[in-house]
Symmetry: C2
Subunit: 295 residues, 2 copies
DNA sequence: AAGAATGATGCGATTTAGGTATTATTATGC
DNA sequence: GCATAATAATACCTAAATCGCATCATTCTT
C-alpha cells in the first residue's frame, strides 16, 4: 500500500467521479480505476459501489475514508515537524548546568529562546561539570554550563558567561575585618567554614588547589551543608567562608566581605557544546544567547 | 512513500543493523539500504547516523519512529476492522420501528445482538411505516419493524413478529359488558374514546377502515392523547376504546376487555429488510432474532 | 598489518505503475 | 424506441521502480 493510494482514495471519495478525481490528481482515469481496485483487493473489501453511472462509498468506504484521512494528515504534520527540526525550530534541546551557573542572564536567555522557538522542548538538568563534559562529547547533552578550565583543556567550542572572584566572608568584628583586602597567608591560619567534600567535590578540590598554589592548606573548621548555616557560623566568629562574589550582593547583617589580596580563586563558567554534535538547535540557542548579551 | 517503507524503517530502528533487519524482513541488505535512503531523501532529513560500523537513530529519526509506528498500527487496526465489517461484526446497523412494535421480544433481541456483536453500533429510530419503507428501499435503513400489510404489498423479505387482534375496553357496568363478544354493529352506536388523527394517522385511518368494511362509521367521543387518559374516560362510562390485546394484560380496575365478534382489526407487525441492500449485519441480526424466537 | 564486519554502489532482471486506445454499460434525449 | 453521450473497466505498451547478486569501501579487531 502506498500513501499516494490513500490520498487518491480520499480525492475520489470527495469527487465520487473517477474522471474528475483523476483530473484533480493530474492523472488519467484508467490508472486511477486500477489503483482503487488494487487498494480494494489489498483490503479485501469494496470501498465504492459503482455501476458505470454512479459512484458512492460503501459502509466500509466511509469508515476507511476517516482512517485514511487520519493517517495522511498525521504523516503530513510529521513531515512539517521534521522540516522544522531541520531548521532548529522543533525538537528537544538538552542543556546541563551547574549550581553556580544560574544567573539572571541564564534565566532570561531561556525565556527568550522559548519565546522565539515555542516548539522546542528544553530539558534542563543539573550535573557537575565533568559529567556534563562526558555527556556533551557523547552527544546526549547539547549544551553545558560548566567550569571554564575544563572546556579549555578539552578544547570544546564555548562562550564564557561568568568570571567572578571568590571572596571572603568574615564577621564584622573579626581581627582580619579591618583590612581592605585579606591575604591568603592570613586566611590559612583561620578556620574555614565550608561544605563537606561530598557535596561538590569539584569546588572543594578547586579551593584546596587555590591554597596549594601558595604552598598552603586551609584549616578546616565546621563543615556545613547549607550556605545560610555557613554564614551563621561565620557571623558567630567561628571562622571565615568563601563565596562567589555575586552570591552575597545583599550582604548579611553582621558580616563583611573582603577580596583576597593575591590572585586566588576565580569562578569561571562557560557555555560549551560539541563541534561534532552541533545541530541547528544548538546554533539557534547560541544565537539567541549572544543576541541577548548585546542588547 | 509506501507503508512498507515505514514498516521497514521501524524494524531497522529496532535492530539498528541493516543486515539483521533485512533478514527479519526476508529481503537482502542492499535494497533495504536503498529503501531507507529513499525515505530519507523524500523526508529531507537523515533518520540514521551510520558510519559503516554503527547505526543509530538521529533526533529526527526518533521522532519519525514514533509517527511511523502510530501510522502503521492505525492502518493495521483499520484493516482488522474492515475485515470485521465484512463479517458483520462491526459497523452501524440502522433499525426503524413503530410505536407498537416495541415488545419484550424486540428488546431482548436487541440485548442479545449487542451481546453477541459488541462492536456493532445499533441506531434505533422511530418512524411511521411508510417512511421506514422508503428508507429501507433507498438503503438508509437496514431493518424496519413495520405494518405487515405494507411489506406484503411491497414484496419485501420479512419475518412476522406481531399479530394480535384489537380488543374493546369497556366499563364493567357498560350495557355491552354482559356479552362474551361484542359486535361491530353495536360498537358503532357507542362513542369511541380515541387519540386524535394527528398522533398516528396510520392507525387512525386503519381503525376507520375496520369499521367501513361493514359499512359503518365509528361515533367519536372524546379525543385524548394518552392511553391512560382514554382508559379513565372509558371507566367513567363515556364510551369504549380499542387496544392491541397485549396492551391490557394486567387489566385496569373497573374495566373489562371483550373480543370483537366479527373479524375486525388485527395489528400485524413484521421485521422487514431489503433484498438489494442485505448485508452481513442484517443477516446476523436476522439470525439472532430468529434464534431467540426458538429458545 | 591482515582479516572480519558492515553499509554503500553497480548492474541486470523482474515487477509495477502510468498513458493511450478501446470496450461495455447505462442513462438521456429526440 | 433507438441513438447518443457519459463513464468506468479492460487491453496493451512503455517507463520507472524494486529486487537480488556481486562487489567495493571503510572501519574495527586481533
Amino acid at each position: 500500500m502506498r500513501i499516494q493510494q490513500l490520498e487518491n482514495f480520499i480525492v475520489l471519495a470527495e469527487e465520487l467521479h473517477f474522471g474528475k478525481a483523476a483530473e484533480r490528481l493530474h492523472m488519467q482515469q484508467p490508472p486511477l480505476s486500477r489503483q482503487i481496485k488494487a487498494l480494494e483487493d489489498e483490503l479485501g473489501v469494496l470501498l465504492f459501489k459503482r455501476n458505470n453511472r454512479k459512484v458512492e462509498l460503501t459502509e466500509e468506504g466511509v469508515f476507511f475514508l476517516q482512517e485514511a484521512k487520519a493517517v495522511t494528515t498525521r504523516l503530513t504534520v510529521a513531515q512539517h515537524t521534521l522540516k522544522a527540526m531541520g531548521n532548529g525550530e522543533a525538537g528537544t534541546l538538552r542543556i546541563g548546568f551547574v549550581d553556580s551557573s544560574i544567573t539572571e542572564r541564564f534565566v532570561t536567555a531561556m525565556g527568550r529562546f522559548k519565546e522565539q522557538y515555542p516548539n522546542v522542548i528544553i530539558e534542563l538538568e543539573e550535573k557537575v561539570s565533568v559529567e556534563q563534559l562526558a555527556a556533551i562529547e557523547e552527544g546526549s547533552l547539547h549544551i553545558g554550563f560548566i567550569r571554564t578550565h575544563l572546556v579549555e583543556t578539552h578544547e570544546l567550542p564555548h562562550i564564557d558567561v561568568i568570571s567572578e572572584p571568590y571572596i571572603v566572608a568574615l564577621a564584622k568584628d573579626h581581627p582580619l575585618a579591618g583590612q581592605e583586602t585579606v591575604s591568603v597567608y592570613d586566611l590559612a591560619k583561620e578556620p574555614l567554614i565550608f561544605f563537606p567534600h561530598r557535596k561538590n567535590p569539584g569546588i572543594y578540590n578547586w579551593v584546596l588547589n587555590g591554597f596549594s598554589q601558595y604552598g598552603l592548606v586551609p584549616k578546616f573548621g565546621f563543615e556545613v551543608v547549607m550556605d545560610q548555616a555557613a554564614e551563621m557560623f561565620v557571623a558567630g566568629g567561628f571562622g571565615y567562608t568563601l563565596l562567589p562574589s555575586t552570591s552575597c550582593r545583599m550582604g548579611r547583617r553582621g558580616l563583611t566581605y573582603k577580596r583576597v589580596k593575591e590572585p586566588f580563586l576565580n569562578l569561571r563558567i562557560s557555555m560549551a557544546w560539541s563541534q561534532a554534535h552541533e545541530c541547528p538547535l544548538v546554533k539557534n540557542f547560541i544565537e539567541v544567547f549572544t543576541q541577548q548579551a548585546d542588547s
